[in-house]
């Protein structure tokens, strides 16, 4: 039985008609056409589908539509503001923090969530934050470098840049 659900998606209040047990990932990709969030395992293990739910990184493949009622959801499409890439996205480009790009959306969401709660994470904290995001290409080296660089950039500018 389909129901109407209301939540905030990338800054816009929206209403969707969906089965309550549909996953947020399928809703985003197939109903709303936001295919930047990727499907890698459908079991909450690979992290390719990570989105931010009220500021926390969650696996959208194991989050049901009913759970996001009234919440604030940010996907990779909602990271850049007014056509401007954020420092995090720029550093991902600069440092070659992606190769095939399939895990990138999830990586960026986990990193964004980390930097919003902790602007100056240690390397260990960065690695812990992206531990749930599997990457088969990079060996994580340049991803960690990119996140460190954003943190340093925040320091250098003397004010909190929005990741």
């Amino acid at each position: 039985m389909k129901k109407v659900f209301s939540f905030n998606l990338n800054g816009e209040d929206i209403q969707v008609l969906s089965e309550p047990n549909r996953t947020l990932l399928d809703l985003l990709r197939d109903d709303l056409g936001l295919t930047g969030t990727k499907k890698g395992c459908e079991a909450g293990e690979c992290g390719a589908c990570t989105v931010m739910l009220d500021g926390r990184p969650v696996n959208s493949c194991i989050t049901l539509v009913a759970e996001v009622e009234g919440c604030r959801v940010i996907t990779v499409e909602g990271v850049a503001q007014d056509g401007q890439l954020t420092p995090l996205q720029k550093q991902f480009i600069d440092k070659w923090a992606f190769q095939c790009g399939y895990c990138t959306a999830g990586m960026i969401m986990s990193a964004k969530a980390l930097l919003e709660r902790n602007a100056h994470p240690t390397e260990q904290e960065i690695r812990e934050a992206i531990e749930g995001n599997l990457c088969r290409c990079t060996g994580y080296v340049k991803i960690v470098e990119a996140i460190q660089a954003v943190s340093a950039e925040m320091d250098a500018m003397g004010w909190e840049v929005k990741a």
Binding site: D26, R29, D30, G33, L34, T35, G36, T37, K38, K39, G40, C41, E42, A43, E45, C46, A48, T75, V76, E77, V79, A80, L85, Q89, F92, I93, D94, K95, W96, F98, Q99, C100, G101, Y102, C103, T104, A105, I108, I126, R127, E128, I130, E131, G132, N133, L134, C135, R136, C137, T138, G139, Y140, V141, K142, I143, V144
Partner: protein
């Protein structure tokens, strides 16, 4: 191939602007799409009237199909089409394509050209996961429900899972080749000598012969993107537009045309972003044939994406190997002869089977000068999911055995393991008895650099118990000859560079970008030759209908062959422009160059002559009556197919060399290995893009560590049991060591701007380096992979009586007295 490409117009090394120095550091040209989520992968394509496809897979490893009842599935609401084997002709896919049979002879060669894999099995299933029926419906849930309603009756047949048992006379016949074939696919033997001796004669005079048995395990690519396909059908033109996660779209087109009993012009295969391949997308998954047939039958676009579990059980993995190696050394510790026997567990189907046996024989002699060889590989069919190309294709297995043999021999002979490798190391100019010609080689330098970085000489006798440093040296091909993998034609690349009337060059090259940065490097090569910036060069989104042939991204061929083809196309443009401007300036066109957005004259005394790039393009068009300037180029490795007959030939245009070194500790209680540092030195000639090369090396170390310490795909009676990322362990960000890479070595004479392979063979030295370090740390002798905690724990206990003594001997006798 344009052999007569005028090399006079090639940019001279002293004039390189982009490929050398600090400037050789570019960003991915598709970067914006990838960090904003706009990049479209095959499974991202979507249409409002799209149908979702799902398949019914065999739960049994070997069975006769008695009946398939699809009536309930057809009646299920939302179902639009149900397919079984009857919906496809009797054409099997997955082989090497037309022409392969004539290139390949030997002990057993059946069907290497035709393929052996049915789209949907008709009468027999040969492995768990063989597809027998498929459904498409208006929702994924409906398609899955309908698949569950399909009733298949099987009559179970005897199956074989162990490659050694499969090769015995009374084993079940997997592929129907007949009992006398003993389930063998192709075999490859290389016998030869540079000194006119046999291996037996050389073994006779040897001062020492190391003999050992080795084995490796089964893993899969586990690309983050599972195989996916999206197909639209145009009935009016009888034309399919296919977006498929593939790294060899021309081969997809070839096999689609065969299966649909038509010609290639009906299939437009669009090159989409690929979410990781590592060799796993150089095959022809049944989903693309099924999706095309469904699109044709229903008139709707059809999307077929495998689930993670389906990806595990239906797609290919890395060959498990069983190896016996005998290496003979003379009294100066030089390798004089080698004999090996290698058995490959191929699984139920052939895939690129010719390549697996042939390559595994090539690696057996690498990276050393071995003048007398007797090397043999055999690939055997078993009732398990098939094995094929995977990053470091068979090199990861063969060079594991080869390098451990070197380590153990060095200890026996009392020579430092790094120096010992250098004694027999390959050098520029060496021609092996197998016919391989080394045109550039910095292997010894990579060994020296690794030893220096690890401070080896000072540390080797001072390490604590359970602490070890391991080295490993390997070699790999840079590009391939014809015809390996499932390649139907010559393994060439065609490229076109077109310059429009605004002076904007666009490169048309179907070189697959799996993330390694192929599109970026191709654009950079054009920019370098034409004296422009990277951003001035546009990259066309290509498909099989709008650009030249490229056999695919495999065999470490993209930069070397694709790069050379693109360079020739760019130089063809440059020649035309230089000739046009020369006519205007009345000088020799060879004295004209394209630098910094200008065409300049280098004729003595006339250096002040110059013309902006765009004016030069207009000048060339004007002289040709308004025609656009279009340059074409192609490249392939000129060799013959003798290698496939066990006769000498130079398999690859060039070869690369690497040394891996690591420092680690072993927990004796748990068997857990903790690598804290990894150093990697790789001779890839001239690096074209430093960040990309670093990324490839770091990724290789990741893959190798996964292969060695974490990943292990287990099966019970042919049924895989850990088909998810919870049970199939892969390294996370917390598991990776500190990594240092070095790749600053001399350029190759034939590679584009001197570049060679990077990122495939570089996976091979990881496992032996880790094994050698564990050996040093604990004294245990290692012969088998994986080295996950369970296996290391077992070895520590099995060798309890000898390893303490061995460790003490290594530290106090061997390393202390070097």
């Amino acid at each position: 191939m344009n052999r007569f490409a005028d090399k006079n117009y090639f940019r001279k090394p002293e004039d390189y602007r982009l490929v050398s120095g600090e400037k050789s550091n570019y960003q991915h040209i598709e970067a914006y799409d990838k960090v904003t989520g706009r990049a479209m992968y095959a499974g991202d394509f979507h249409a409002p009237d799209m149908l979702y496809a799902k398949a019914k897979l065999s739960p049994i490893a070997h069975a006769r199909i008695v009946s398939i009842d699809t009536s309930k599935a057809e009646a299920y609401p939302g179902v639009k089409c149900v397919l079984t084997g009857k919906d496809f002709p009797d054409i099997k896919v997955g082989g090497h394509g037309k022409g392969a049979n004539k290139h390949f002879s030997g002990e057993k060669t059946a069907n290497v050209g035709d393929g052996d894999q049915e789209i949907l099995c008709k009468t027999e299933v040969r492995m768990c996961g063989d597809p027998v029926a498929a459904v498409c419906a208006t929702s994924e849930a409906a398609a899955q429900r309908a698949v569950d309603l399909i009733e298949v009756v099987y009559e179970e047949l005897p199956a074989c899972f162990d490659p050694r048992e499969a090769a015995e006379a009374d084993s079940p016949d997997v592929q129907g080749y007949g009992r006398e074939a003993h389930n063998f696919g192709p075999c490859c033997t290389q016998l030869g000598s540079n000194v006119g001796k046999t291996v037996d004669e050389e073994f006779e005079r040897a001062a020492y012969i190391y003999k050992g048995n080795f084995s490796t395990h089964h893993i899969v690519h586990a690309c983050m993107e599972p195989h996916a396909c999206y197909c639209e059908y145009d009935q009016h033109l009888d034309q399919y537009t296919v977006h498929v996660s593939s790294t060899m779209t021309y081969s997809d087109q070839y096999w689609l045309a065969r299966v649909f009993e038509t010609t290639e012009d009906h299939f437009n295969i669009v090159r989409t972003h690929v979410g990781g391949a590592f060799g796993g997308k150089s095959n022809f998954p049944f989903i693309e044939f099924v999706a095309c047939r469904m699109a044709q039958r229903t008139g709707h676009p059809v999307r077929f994406v495998l689930t993670r579990e389906e990806e595990f059980i239906t797609q290919q993995g890395r060959h498990p190997f069983i190896m016996h190696v005998e290496t003979a050394f003379d009294d100066e510790h030089r390798i004089i002869a080698k004999r090996c026997r290698q058995l490959l567990d191929g699984g139920a189907y052939g895939l690129g089977q010719v390549a697996s046996v042939n390559l595994s024989v090539i690696w057996a002699a690498f990276p050393y000068k071995i003048d007398t060889i007797d090397l043999q590989s055999k690939r055997v069919f078993t009732n398990k999911s098939p094995n094929g190309a995977m990053r470091g294709y068979t090199a990861c297995q063969v060079q594991f055995a080869g390098d451990l043999s070197m380590q153990y021999a060095a200890e026996h002979l009392g020579v430092d393991p790094v120096e010992f490798r250098k004694i027999s190391a390959l050098e520029t100019g060496y021609k092996s008895p197998a016919g391989l010609v080394v045109t550039s080689c910095a292997f010894k330098q990579t060994l020296d650099d690794a030893a220096k970085h690890m401070d080896w000489v000072n540390r080797r006798a001072k390490l604590e118990k359970n602490e070890g440093i391991g080295f490993s040296g390997i070699a790999f091909v840079s590009g391939t000859a014809s015809p390996i993998l499932n390649t139907p034609n010559q393994v060439q690349t065609n490229a076109t560079v077109r310059v429009d009337w605004n002076g904007i060059p666009t490169v048309y090259a179907n070189c697959h970008d799996n993330g390694q940065g192929a599109d970026t490097v191709m654009a950079m090569i054009v920019a370098e030759e034409l004296g422009l910036d990277l951003r001035d060069v546009k990259h066309a989104e290509t498909s099989t209908f709008n650009c030249g042939y490229d056999s695919g991204a495999y065999g470490s061929r993209v930069t070397f062959l694709g790069g050379n083809a693109v360079r020739r196309a760019a130089v063809d443009v440059k020649r035309q422009i230089c000739e046009a401007v020369a006519a205007k300036w009345n000088c020799d066109p060879h004295l004209i160059d394209c630098i910094d957005h200008k065409v300049v004259c280098r004729d003595m005394g006339r250096e002040d002559l110059e013309m902006p790039w765009r004016d030069a393009v207009t000048c060339a068009m004007y002289q040709k009556g308004g025609d656009e300037v279009v340059g074409v180029g192609s490249y392939y490795h000129r060799t013959n197919s003798a290698q496939y007959h066990g006769k000498p030939s130079n398999y690859a245009p060039s070869y690369v060399f690497s040394t891996g070194a690591c420092h680690l500790t072993v927990d004796e209680e748990t068997g857990v290995v903790d690598i804290d540092e990894f150093f990697f030195a790789h001779d890839c000639g001239q690096a074209l893009n430093k960040r990309a090369v670093e990324g490839q090396l770091e990724g290789s170390i990741y893959s190798g560590i996964g292969y060695t310490l974490y990943e292990d795909l287990k099966d019970v009676n042919g049924r895989q049991i850990n088909t998810n990322f919870h049970d199939y362990k892969m390294p996370t960000a917390l598991d990776m060591p500190h990594i240092t890479t070095k790749f600053d070595y001399p350029p190759d004479p034939e590679g584009p701007f001197g570049a060679k392979e990077c990122g495939e063979g570089t996976t091979a030295p990881i496992a032996p380096a880790v094994a050698n370090a564990i050996h040093m740390a604990t004294g245990i002798e290692i012969h088998d992979l994986p080295l996950d905690p369970e296996h290391v724990w077992k070895l520590l206990r099995e060798q309890k009586d000898v390893r303490e003594e061995k460790w003490r001997w290594l530290k106090e006798e061997y390393y202390a007295k070097l």
